[in-house]
């Protein structure tokens, strides 16, 4: 059956992301929240994460490129990104956020800027992974909806 095959492909891909250290087991918890009442939950969560993360990264970029850095505000956005990335299983991105926090504690603007670039790279890797999962999930949802409509 097409749906089953797609689901197995998705499981295999997620396992590969675990093996590469891009996702940890918290992603499995998020995925497990999806049910028949809300079959698009994972897609919604991924969209929400990406939207909020990109807004947070944009704020961080502006703050850290200011002449005088407001480190308290930087810390606030870094914490938000750390919390959301770790909650979706983006362990490497969360680690990069932790490193930025330490640089903020030392009020080291240059180090913060270096680590911001690293965090953006980790976000891009995570986003690419989540986009693939999103598309696979969408295919599964469409396949299931098509099957349910058939007499």
């Amino acid at each position: 059956m097409v749906g089953t095959s797609l689901s197995q492909q998705l499981e295999n891909y997620i396992q590969t992301m675990h093996d590469q250290g891009i996702l940890d087991y918290h992603f499995d918890h998020v995925k497990a929240l999806q049910n028949e009442e809300n079959p698009r939950f994972l897609m919604e969560v991924i969209s929400m994460f990406a939207h909020d993360a990109e807004a947070g990264i944009a704020h961080l970029t502006t703050l850290l490129n200011s002449a005088v850095v407001d480190f308290a505000k930087v810390i606030s956005f870094v914490h938000q990104l750390k919390g959301s990335s770790s909650s979706i299983g983006g362990v490497r991105m969360a680690l990069a956020c932790r490193q930025i926090r330490h640089a903020c504690d030392n009020m080291d603007k240059e180090r913060c800027l270096q680590l911001l670039e690293r965090m953006k790279q980790e976000y891009n890797s995570l986003k690419e992974c989540l986009n693939i999962i999103f598309e696979m999930e969408r295919s599964i949802v469409v396949a299931n909806e098509t099957r349910h409509r058939q007499p």
Binding site: N12, D19, L33, M48, F49, Q80, G83, S87, I88
Partner: protein
């Protein structure tokens, strides 16, 4: 680089066979605990995404949940007479931070289980949150290894 695969042995080799080399991992479920009683929880988190996930996880375990997005709203809710078995509260919150919100909630006589669930990880922050009155300091994300023992205790299963 993190690896989810165990070190090689006969069991793993057998598990790998017939599946293109992929380990058959048991999917995660929320069935590890089945609540016998009605439990209620309040989630206090300023981040929409984290609030959504934490509420979702608690609901998946069978709790009835409410949520607010700042410390002042949490204090107001408790002051209005709302009672909860469990409160998850973040440290960095808009309007009123989690430490002060926790202090005020405890000052009102609320003795429920409070978990400080935060992206903060420093020892000073941990001590401050515990001193304010949270029972457990948890670095986000809140995982089943911490949550399930808490739920068993609240549900009288221990």
């Amino acid at each position: 680089m993190a690896s989810a695969l165990p070190s090689g042995d006969m069991g793993a080799a057998e598990a790998n066979s017939g599946n293109g080399g992929q380990m058959q991992k048991k999917p995660f479920t929320f069935n590890e605990i089945v609540l016998r009683n009605r439990l209620t929880a309040l989630v206090v988190d300023g981040d929409n995404f984290c609030r959504l996930l934490e509420q979702g996880i608690l609901q998946a375990y069978g709790l009835e949940t409410q949520s607010v997005n700042n410390g002042d709203a949490a204090v107001e809710l408790i002051a209005s007479g709302a009672k909860f078995d469990l409160i998850l509260i973040d440290m960095l919150l808009p309007i009123l931070d989690g430490v002060e919100a926790t202090r005020r909630i405890r000052a009102m006589g609320m003795r429920c289980k409070m978990l400080g669930v935060t992206a903060c990880s420093g020892e000073r922050e941990r001590q401050a949150f515990l001193a304010a009155g949270v029972d457990v300091f948890v670095e986000k994300p809140l995982g089943p290894e911490i949550l399930i023992p808490v739920l068993r205790e609240l549900d009288g299963q221990v």
